[in-house]
Point group: C2
Chain length 220, copies 2
């Protein structure tokens, strides 16, 4: 086997595809752009991945495998430390969304590029992407939701589920739109540089999420 060659090609393709998908979307990125940017032959994608659709899935699988494992590890560790006691909501939120935001600083795990891609893709219209992502997320979301149910026994479960949903939205959007819809934040934060902005995003978002999670229940 000619291992070094093919592994290189695979990863070069995945890296190039990740960047281009983030910048131009799936439909907006052609195989020729990807292979061109990766410096490999056009036919390589179909040889290594089978199809463009399969490439898209592999771009996500590569990153989500780690993210999901890490999220489960963090939750399990916290639950073991807590024994029978329920976790604090802030712990759970921090475990789920903090792990995600941590990837932004980790260039080897995709960094901001992948986060932006993920945030945007959660609302992608293409069926095969949504079902794929739902499958990948399912176990982790269930575990964290269960933890929240236990942590907030007096709050109706439907309410918690919805607020989880809202938290996901605020987070995805905060990441995906960091320089997308800058209009909201543009003139107020230009005293901070780009890296500073990202460092400060996490505590800011966490405060917001926790405030929303613990808000008074709506009166119907």
């Amino acid at each position: 086997m000619a291992e070094t060659r093919s592994v290189d090609t695979r990863e070069r393709i995945l890296d190039a595809a990740e960047k281009l998908f983030t910048a131009n979307g799936f439909d907006g990125t052609s195989m020729r752009q990807i292979t061109g940017a990766a410096g490999v032959n056009l036919a390589s994608v179909n040889y290594h991945f089978g199809s463009k659709e399969a490439l898209v899935q592999e771009v996500f699988r590569r990153r989500l495998a780690w993210l999901n494992t890490e999220r489960l590890r963090v939750l399990t560790t916290m639950e073991q430390a807590a024994g029978d006691k329920p976790l604090k909501p802030s712990q759970i939120v921090e475990g789920f969304f903090g792990t995600l935001l941590g990837m932004a600083q980790d260039e080897a795990r995709g960094g901001v590029t992948f986060l932006r891609l993920l945030g945007r893709t959660l609302t992608d219209p293409a069926d095969f992407i949504r079902t794929f992502l739902a499958d990948e997320y399912q176990e982790v979301v269930e575990r964290y939701k269960a933890a929240l149910f236990k942590a907030l026994p007096d709050v109706p479960r439907a309410e918690i589920a919805w607020r989880f949903h809202f938290m996901l939205g605020a987070t995805s959007y905060a990441i995906a739109g960091t320089d997308a819809l800058r209009l909201v934040t543009d003139w107020q934060v230009d005293d901070e540089d780009a890296t500073d902005r990202l460092d400060r995003l996490q505590p800011r978002l966490m405060s917001f999420l926790l405030g929303g999670l613990r808000a008074p229940l709506p009166k119907f």
Copy 2:
């Protein structure tokens, strides 16, 4: 002028395009699908709108014109009623996001279909869409942001801007993903039917948004 014919054709195209864009995205929707669903000739789109890109913009302009006017009207009315006093944050949030969510019930203004399209499109990668949307939103966002600054004079402006951003995200996502990433809510809310769910979304979301907006400030 053959007015009735062309007006019909224009609106049939816009309606069909709105639905198809929502279901399949912009790149995922072809001119032939649009004209086919609208029951008009393929060349009609280029005749009436000039290009596919221009059609996309018109799909939004048609709805956003009303939404923006209404948002400004609501804000102005509230400010006049308040005189010199600052508005309550809940009023401002209700004015901005309540107006939006109200469109869901208004089929003549696009209903849920347009809301879903709008929510998803705020993070669309295509440049011409983002700049177009930013232009359309600019004035309204500025006015509401200013109202929030006045309502929360002790909160740093950067913080308010960010939380506005987060609120936009939670809302967009709540709308766009209502049946997209159902995995979060699926098993907890199936006791409610579809219309019921949408009626209840608004108070639920408002509680969440206000909780987030008024959350304790993060400690850096």
